[in-house]
Amino acid sequence: MGEVLVATRDVYGKTLVEIGRENKNLVVLDADLSESTKTAMFAKEFPDRFFNFGIAEANMMCFAAGLALSGKVVFASSFAMFATLRPYEQIRNSIASQNLNVKIAATHSGVSVGEDGLSHQTVEDLAIMRVMPNMQIFVPADGIATAKIVKQAALCPGPVYIRLTRPKTEVIYDESYDFVIGKMHVIKDAPRADVGIIAIGTMVPNALKAARMLEEEGYSVIVADAASLKPLDRETVVRIAKSSRLVVTVEEHSIIGGLGGAVAEVLAEDFPAKLLRIGVMDVFGESGSPSALYKHFGLTPEDIFRKIFKQIR
């Protein structure tokens, strides 16, 4: 069975064009990366509703706020580093504080941006965006999910952070996939399981592969996709914890403050359970090919399998 690979950023660009045809209120902004973030597709079809801010992300975010205050639905894009950490305070004070219709779609997140190294690898964005009031956070696991999530984001009120990636990733869903804000998508379910894996974004396909390896060893596994990181589906987190001996989170992000942090908060408050957080272990990234980096940070399906196996055998 050959894998179908699609870059979520490509789907993002195409979906913006689709939405733009119907919603004349849609405005797209970029900061000199439109070929990479794929907003160039929108720029080509709707030059009057696309604005390039040059290398000035803080200004792009505040302009986005002004456009939204004037009734526009705004998508502002850059690499995850420059769409979150750089203009963080502008997003907080001008966008989130006023609950504005600005959707920040960030590509090149995580370590899989690869060779550019640590200055471009964002493993903190989910953590810092999660702590911001009013901000919703959606992380699609594949191209199908990206299209559905971008369309939902355009329709739902308030600010949204959408985390996309640079490399092509495996398509795991079909058109029947349904994205519901605040709900987890349980891909593989069981009434009782040895392991309940909650994964997000690029790590959903890897978690599914690790689950298959665990099943081959005779273990039963639940796998859920936490695409709606905020609001988080607390109910399903608890249900998974109640039905599993071990809860595991897997993310291409620091284990601090992102999915692992969010799930830890729910478990500690609602149903204390044993938790294994798999992700980047509180270190900065470095240069390398995406596949070499996945190995380096222990994020391959085999690594995920081994880490879980060690805990449950």
Binding site: G54, A58, N59, F63, A64, G66, L67, L69, N93, Q98
Partner: protein, 287 residues
């Protein structure tokens, strides 16, 4: 400008000054110096220049005013109340828990506040987005924005200045409240931003230098801005002002940037303004 009209504006701005000082005294904290330096500009804008409807604050065709130097909130609150957005009674609630008159302007709480500001440098950029939206929608709305001279030390101001000129937002009018002082002292001692006008010129703006307390000069500058429509160039009006203007012991004193007047200070100031009766009205009004 006719003398009677000028007199009227001067009377209004005097009353607004009194209100600013009474609000701040009541609140026990806040920023008098920079509120008094920009109040004449706000008075002219809201009484003579801008198109808006307090009964319909979200009227899409309205002009916008964004107070980028959000710490001058008392000046904005005083003028918004004067032109009918809300009762002057509300001014007594400044900075108190539950009040729509937050320490810095909050658009979610108070009609007439076009954008939440206070974090310096952001208001001009947000206002740029509003001017861009007006152009896209072919609305006649003008966008007016006021920044402080200390505020323009923020790099974001120059990112915004670049973009506002780049997008040819000739519907954008910026006032620089050039009172020369910031919290730590003189602007040119703390971090020299001069020459201000030349900087905006080099970014492709039309620039005027005026006395920010002279209604004739404010009027002429705004007439120039109007005549400038279609030029593709935004307008920057560098307004020389006096921090703490019209209160002798506050004028040109950096220490009055962020300290509220005591009751004694207030009475002295109202006396100087010839507005002692304002205090009686203020006290007489029911809470």
């Amino acid at each position: 400008m006719e003398q009677t009209e000028k007199k009227r504006l001067e009377e209004v701005s005097k009353k607004l000054r009194a209100n600013i000082l009474m609000m701040l005294t009541e609140a026990g904290s806040g920023h008098p110096g920079g509120s008094l330096s920009c109040i004449d500009i706000l008075t002219y804008l809201f009484l003579k220049q801008m198109r808006y409807d307090p009964a319909n604050p979200h009227w899409p065709e309205r002009d916008r005013f964004v107070l980028s130097k959000g710490h001058a909130a008392p000046a904005l609150y005083a003028v918004l109340s004067h032109v009918g957005y809300y009762s002057s009674n509300l001014l007594k609630t400044l900075r108190k828990l539950g009040s729509p008159l937050q320490g810095h302007p909050d658009s979610r709480k108070l009609p007439g506040v076009e954008s939440s500001t206070g974090s310096l440098g952001q208001g001009i950029s947000v206002a740029g987005g509003m001017a861009l939206a007006a152009k896209m929608d072919k609305r006649p709305s003008r966008v007016y924005c006021l920044v402080g001279d200390g505020e323009i030390q923020e790099g974001l101001v120059w990112e915004a200045a670049m973009a506002i000129a780049h997008f040819k937002l000739d519907n954008f009018c910026l006032f620089v409240d050039n009172n020369g002082l910031q919290i730590d002292g003189l602007v040119d001692d703390v971090m020299n931003v001069y020459p201000i006008g030349e900087k905006f010129l080099s970014f492709g703006w039309q620039v005027l230098n005026i006395d920010g307390h002279d209604f004739d000069e404010i009027e002429k500058a705004l007439e120039f801005f109007e005549s400038n429509q279609g030029s593709g160039k935004p307008t920057a009006i560098v307004a020389k002002t006096v921090k703490g203007k019209c209160v002798s012991f506050m004028e040109n004193k950096a220490q009055w940037h962020g300290v509220a007047p005591s009751r004694d200070d207030l009475m002295k100031a109202l006396d100087e303004l010839g507005c002692l009766e304002s205090m009686e009205e203020w006290n007489a009004e029911e809470n």
